[in-house]
Symmetry: D2
Subunit: 347 residues, 4 copies
């Protein structure tokens, strides 16, 4: 094993990153060293790159970002038994404390003291990454290898779609970034009968159709709500999956939701949002769920099962494959809206 590795480093409290050669870290007790084979880029990474207000408040440089990846186990710290050298793995990058009420009652995905690797500590945009054994996910050989670095955002989609009944349901998805697009495929694979995808970006709308959406609409166009209501016999959709965090999308989404329906909110509004609670939630007898991360590890088992059964085609969402050293180019592609999911490969 080499003693140094290539890494994307957020070196300064300022925009940008550096591509550097840094020492390969050594796994401590209960830790696993993984040789990264592919890492994909999330919107969070763009925030860190651009050094926006959220990043300024949360990130403490120097930091290696990156929280979506797959690779091979390179070395084991003391006491690790869950994997062995050479195993292909990914990992849940939310490191839960294991001791709070939430962790001890099946809600570790909303742990009160969560640390996110790639955000609060070094992540996976590097030749190697260190993970706690508890967070390692050993990959089934049946999972398409190219999808293995996408389990984090795919898990967000699976968590959201399966947060309530989906079979035989009509579904509106507001916002078709990567997670929204994945959600289309997951919902269809799990028995949703009609999926309506709403997205302002024309390229993403095209991908939404490829992912299997039954009807793809531009929410900015005329009569969108009317069209969906008509298609559902005037009733509205059974399930709303809110993936944009945009106030207008939320308003539109809730207007589409049928009385007694479920709204699962994953998109994160950047500021408070005004909603007509009486009309949209209370009189409707609606159920609204806040969705965060992935259930540890129920979501991972579900995701693996669906992928291993070859029930999800994720290919249309992967728009670019670059070298890790092309990180800046990946950022540009995401900023332009041209890219959806970019996979980076360390050399």
């Amino acid at each position: 094993m080499a003693s140094t590795m290539q890494a994307v480093v957020k070196a300064q409290a300022a925009p940008g990153v550096e591509i550097r050669e840094v020492p390969v870290p050594t796994p401590g007790p209960g830790e696993v060293l993984v040789r990264v084979q592919a890492a994909s880029v999330c919107g969070t990474d763009l925030h860190i790159y651009e050094w926006d207000p959220w990043a300024q408040g949360r990130i403490h440089p120097p930091l290696i970002p990156g929280h979506e990846f797959a690779g091979a186990v390179a070395a084991l710290g003391a006491g690790v038994t869950a994997v062995k050298e050479g195993d292909l793995v990914s990992a849940e990058m939310h490191v839960a404390c294991g001791k709070c009420l939430q962790c001890r009652t099946g809600l570790a995905h909303v742990c009160q003291h969560v640390r996110i690797l790639g955000v609060d500590a070094n992540g996976a945009f590097a030749g190697y990454a260190i993970l706690p054994e508890t967070n390692i996910w050993k990959l089934s050989p049946a999972i398409p290898h190219d999808y293995a670095s996408l389990l984090d955002p795919l898990g967000n989609a699976v968590h959201t779609v399966l947060a309530g009944p989906i079979a035989a349901k009509t579904v509106a998805i507001t916002g078709c970034g990567a997670i929204g697009l994945f959600s289309i495929a997951v919902a269809k694979a799990c028995g949703a009968t009609r999926v309506f995808a709403l997205e302002v970006n024309a390229h993403r709308r095209a991908v939404a159709a490829e992912m299997g959406a039954d009807l793809v609409l531009d929410p900015g166009a005329e009569g969108v709500a009317e069209q969906i209501l008509e298609t559902t016999g005037g009733t509205g959709v059974d399930v709303l999956l809110e993936m944009s965090g945009h106030p207008k999308a939320m308003e539109l989404g809730f207007s589409l939701l049928r009385t007694g329906g479920r709204a699962s909110l994953l998109g994160i509004p950047s500021r408070p949002v005004e909603l007509d609670f009486a009309r949209d939630i209370i009189f409707k007898g609606a159920t609204v769920q806040g969705i965060n991360g992935r259930k540890m590890f129920e979501t991972w088992f579900q995701m693996e099962a669906l992928l291993a059964a070859n029930m999800l085609n994720l290919e249309p969402v992967i728009t670019h494959r670059l070298k890790l050293s092309q990180f800046a180019e990946a950022m540009k592609l995401l900023q332009s809206g041209e890219a959806i999911k970019v996979i980076l490969k360390p050399e």
Copy 2:
């Protein structure tokens, strides 16, 4: 049986009501005529009386209001078999269509075409009232007679409290009108371990304590949120029951809710409300439920069982008992904030 009866009549599209002698109605096929023994007053009745914008948009005079009552079956329309003359009854006053998706899937309480007796058709502020057989609730003899006219608002409370797990949970109730106060008793009877009641009105706070709240606080005072968070070990409450519809109470309530908690919203905001969805719902992984009416008739069975087992003391909420002819006085007592629940008896 007399041919005429005393009735409270909203005769004009204007404030006020008249106390009139009107003909006793005749039950049609599938209908039941009930001699009203007690009817209690709801905030809705005050809206109708004051002729506020909501009432102006919804009510079509002439109308006999009143949707909380108990009485004795006086006559049966053709084909009625569920009750017989003399039976003591109350009724669910939301008349569901029976044919919409919601009605056919166990959600009749949010029927798309609901008609409310006492709002959309004649109700119970009269010597007699007409009800469809399907909506009649035959009273168990074990139910305290004085409580029988309170089943509508008590049902709101039972529906809200039991909309999710409550045993061994901590609960915050924002707003202690009649339904909020009933919710205290229901939550305690069903195993809530600590109930925090939040209410601006001092008289209602005193009643909240009588109903069994463990801690009663004025939300306008300093450090209320801190006090509740401290009492819950910094975690926040497991369950929020929002009974006020007030934006500040909603904001406070959500700030108290623990990560992974349940918020059940029954209070109806009069306009859109701004909420920090990211902080209060999404990152928290919270579940928010819109609650409307009572489940038909699961809530009624639950309510009857709790009352028949003598597990609910509702007495502190009944502040006044008047004659039906004193309707205007009842309105004044409610307007002044002096009254909580007023029971009216036709003569």
Copy 3:
């Protein structure tokens, strides 16, 4: 409209039926007369035909059997508004009382006083049938016309499969009669990742494969349990759908069920069954559900949605299409095990 119609009549308390010309019945208030276009045959009809002990205890001749059908509305009784003449319809043949605890709490499918048309009163093996308006199901034009007489048994399958989470789950189905076979298609359409079908009859095993089962096995063969356990990584299946009612199948099924799994039992054992409750249910922390009929009408909405979205191929299960007058031949085909689902058309 003709005044008489062809009908299959169980005329005597003895084996066999007669094909007779009988008067077309007249719908009473709240009833609908339907011209039957297709009726399919259930195992129950064979019990009635053969006059086995169950039939002797339950059936009171004369009776027109038949409880699976589709047709067109021919006439309306007084007060019927849910359908109009010419509408294509099927119906839920379990007529619930509407007044018991179960009916009033969303469990009408297990009504304490249920009457089954075609069993306890005249059914659909005739030119015309009478149904209560409440039980009529108006067919979506998107449903393949040939499937419309199969909604009763398909509903059993949908009810069973969707009685708990099915997406991303492994499933064992013990018994591949019509309902078991339908369950394969429903489970696959709703996201089951691996369906193991167990059936002793070779013809039905072939159909099970056509319906989409991932692995079809003869439970009488060597090493069946071992094979399924190995395929599931030693864990066992997430979900058991018991469709045979056979003690050996139940024993095998429970042995396949993983710890923490769900067993949904629809097959009806003809006598008490011995089970190792400690090993198979208690230490496993399993959930066992008794499944009966179809949820009114949640199951119907689910079924319609899946069929209208063209997600279910039922064709392989329909082995024969005969004239209603060939009823005796249909019985022979079922007795021989050659037929699975026989559809009869009145002339």
Copy 4:
């Protein structure tokens, strides 16, 4: 700290135990040494003492039994942070592997590789005990000190009672050993409206009444089922909690269960049991749950909350308090049926 301690030792593969002085163990990394203040005796301990066939197959002497206890933290192994010296604690004695499907999906209480301290490794009938940090439960100071050694069996009761809705429900409990008796108190505290306790032992029936059962019956007497059915208006009970493991009790219990009810089975039958699945489960649309252990750690939070709120009176179940050295006498008291719960205190 002393270097030796008093311990109950199962020294031989034969009936009986020895009271011995043995070395105080030293906690390894992630382990906690607790000075035992009270340990209570379970039926399992009697099996081990009597060396019955189950014990012969499971126990490998030498072993210190005992899995119900409370005490004070005496020393910490490396890396322990959850507790500090002097903390009052109890512990979940089922040590889950943390790596199987069940452990990773919220079902650690039915871990595939569970080891039980006091059964598979040394337990708590000694001056000191060693526990993994993950299993330690720090006691709230609000919990009555005398109850702290009862959390294991109380947790069984809480797990069973709260495995489904209990508020406003009628409940039959078959078998009033310690867990059945605790279940009475838990069910009443959580809103059960009527609890029927069925028990053959007269002394336990007397205690059942003290625990708050509404009706206590000897299942061997005439007309027991009729009496309960009549009390529930002919409907049967909403919830059956089976705590005996006895075939006759199971048969009786299921006959009492209403259509659509829940049966939660905790009692462990010693051999296969014959049940009329068609009548008792399938046609009833019943839900049957196998219950094992306590949910980690949801049950512990629930139990603590109920105890801290002073909602459970467990005193009647504690029939004897002895010295640890009186272990043989405790065994006799249990064999005679005189004792229910015996608490032992090391000297």
